[in-house]
């Protein structure tokens, strides 16, 4: 009984973590299911069909590819724009800081329904055709804020003396940036880019409003939810999950190993 009291917080913590992963487990498990009806909702029998014929169902792979392409382009643009803003906020003094902070924050605080529908209203009023371009515009719009937050955090953590040291050692402004600032801020930028990509890839609501006839992976899933989601979707999503998890755990492993190396000087 005392053991429970002492470790209550820990026990709850572990339970919550498990809770977070239950749906993931279901998603992955059901990629190995052979559904007896169109709706992959109850377990029927084990099958590797979905994995062996990943693109067997029409629309699955094409929507997946679409999402990847959009994700890459969107991430590139948003990361560049967001990084520039982060530098401006951290390194410069300027009028209109408050408005800038507010403008950056608002998209993170606005419900996706409102952002999606308002953009749709704009495109409709301008009679701008809905499709890839509108989806990409929308994605860049809401990803910029996240990039700013991520890069800003990294920049603020950087010792300003390092750049002074560079200047002291004969590095002009461009050389200082190239050899000191950029390498040190790069991990933050990469992290922001990864975050941006996952936000774009997984976005549904805003894309749904602005895609017109374009089908991204989440839009495909939504449509399929009414008709029955094929297990191939589960398989692809599991792949993405595992890949992303591998990248993040890999990064953790690298920094953990680095810390071990430091400890044993």
């Amino acid at each position: 009984m005392r053991w429970i009291r002492k470790n209550l917080v820990g026990a709850i913590a572990v339970l919550v973590l498990i809770y977070l992963f239950i749906p993931i487990a279901v998603v992955i498990a059901f990629s190995f299911n052979q559904p007896d009806s169109k709706f992959n909702l109850s377990w029927n029998e084990f099958s590797l069909d979905a994995w062996s014929q990943l693109c067997g169902v029409p629309g699955v792979c094409s929507s997946f590819l679409t999402s990847v392409q959009i994700g890459l382009i969107t991430t590139l643009i948003a990361t560049v724009l967001g990084t520039m803003i982060a530098f401006a906020l951290v390194r410069y003094r300027f009028r209109g800081r408050t408005s800038t902070n507010l403008l950056i924050f608002m998209p993170m605080a606005t419900p996706e329904v409102v952002m999606g529908s308002s953009l749709l209203a704009l495109f409709l009023n301008l009679r701008f055709p809905l499709g890839t371009v509108t989806v990409m515009i929308a994605h860049v719009m809401f990803i910029i804020s996240f990039v700013v937050v991520a890069v800003k955090a990294r920049l603020q953590g950087m010792d300003p003396r390092l750049e002074e040291a560079a200047r002291d050692l004969y590095a002009g402004p461009a050389a200082t940036f190239r050899h000191v600032t950029f390498p040190l801020v790069l991990p933050g930028i990469v992290g922001a880019a990864l975050l941006g990509f996952s936000l774009s890839f997984d976005d549904f609501i805003i894309s749904f409003f602005n895609a017109g006839t374009l089908v991204t992976f989440p839009i495909y899933i939504w449509g399929a939810a009414q008709r029955g989601i094929p297990p191939q979707v589960n398989a692809l999503a599991s792949l993405v999950f595992i890949a992303a998890l591998a990248i993040v755990l890999g990064a953790q492993l690298v920094s953990w190993r680095r810390r071990r190396a430091l400890a044993s000087r």
Binding site: I22, P23, F94, A109, V113, I144, P160, F204, F241
Partner: protein
């Protein structure tokens, strides 16, 4: 006689606390901010304009520019139950999320030691899998014949005999979806706290409950507020959970906006509803800013 300094697009960092003042800062700011201005701010204005449009006399079913404020009155009088329901569901989900998330955040911040980074990865990891699929997975987990529902039924906890297609499922889904958004700000706030304050509290107050209520909880307030905002706001506007896990009785304002926009093409009504939702949230956010300023937002 001021020296002419070379202006680079990214100037070297000045001393901490002193920021550089230069024209080139606008070069950095304008592209990104312009994008936001054009594709975030202006659409909101467009939304407002659309909400005031009236039905075209010549082509019924389409809308033209007008100032029909009655759109708002009509929309609200028809859909106020969904509004209320949205805030209730989102509020419940936020509260439950807070209760569940706090112990986890506390554990990671103070008790996890070297496991901390791994645990944070585990908190964020589920977000790597499509959230539509994860929500859909709850349909399986909470199925009528499934283990969860059967157990709850055996304990006579369910008034309707089912979980799926009720408000319970929707709230549960909302809680699950936005849980990481509550955990991370809480963790960040707790992590910043000096643990010795809690130890000092343990010294002064006899019971752990008192230490929590007098020391830990008040100091973690910024995290609590941030987490609450980041959870409540998207939850209030969500329609996925209601669509997949609820019945027609559980429709939230997000569903209404979506169907009005996409199916009915009743743009004025949908826009009006959107705008009211946005306004309600803006009030919340400004309340927060008045207390804490904007520097910590971003």
């Amino acid at each position: 006689m001021a020296p002419v300094l070379p202006v680079a697009s990214v100037a070297p960092a000045p001393l901490e606390g002193q920021k550089r003042s230069s024209r080139s800062v606008y070069l950095l700011l304008i592209p990104g901010l312009a994008w936001l201005a054009v594709f975030f701010v202006i659409p909101l204005l467009t939304l407002f304009m659309t909400s005031l449009q009236k039905e075209s006399a010549t082509k019924p079913g389409t809308y033209v520019f007008g100032i029909q404020v009655s759109n708002y009155v009509d929309a609200l009088s028809e859909y106020w139950p969904q509004f209320v329901r949205s805030f209730v569901y989102a509020g419940l989900a936020t509260l439950i999320a807070l209760v569940i998330a706090y112990p986890l955040a506390y554990f990671i911040a103070f008790k996890a030691g070297s496991w901390r980074s791994l645990m944070l990865v585990l908190v964020v990891a589920p977000s790597f899998a499509s959230f539509l699929l994860r929500t859909y997975a709850w349909k399986t987990i909470l199925a009528d014949e499934g283990p969860v529902t059967s157990t709850l039924n055996a304990l006579h906890l369910l008034p309707d005999g089912r979980v799926l297609n009720t408000g319970i499922a929707v709230v549960a889904g909302l809680t699950y979806t936005f849980l990481p958004f509550m955990i991370l700000p809480l963790y960040a706030s707790l992590d910043r706290m000096d643990y010795r304050l809690i130890e000092a509290g343990g010294d002064l107050y006899a019971s752990p409950v008192k230490v929590f209520s007098r020391v830990t909880w008040p100091l973690s307030m910024p995290g609590v507020v941030a987490g609450t905002l980041l959870t409540f706001i998207p939850a209030a506007g969500d329609f996925i959970n209601a669509e997949l896990l609820g019945s027609a009785k559980d429709r939230m304002i997000g569903n209404v906006i979506q169907t009005n926009f996409i199916e009915f093409r009743d743009y004025p009504t949908a826009s009006a509803l959107s705008f009211v939702l946005m306004a309600a949230i803006l009030i919340l956010v400004f309340g927060y800013i008045r207390r804490s300023g904007t520097e910590d937002l971003v």
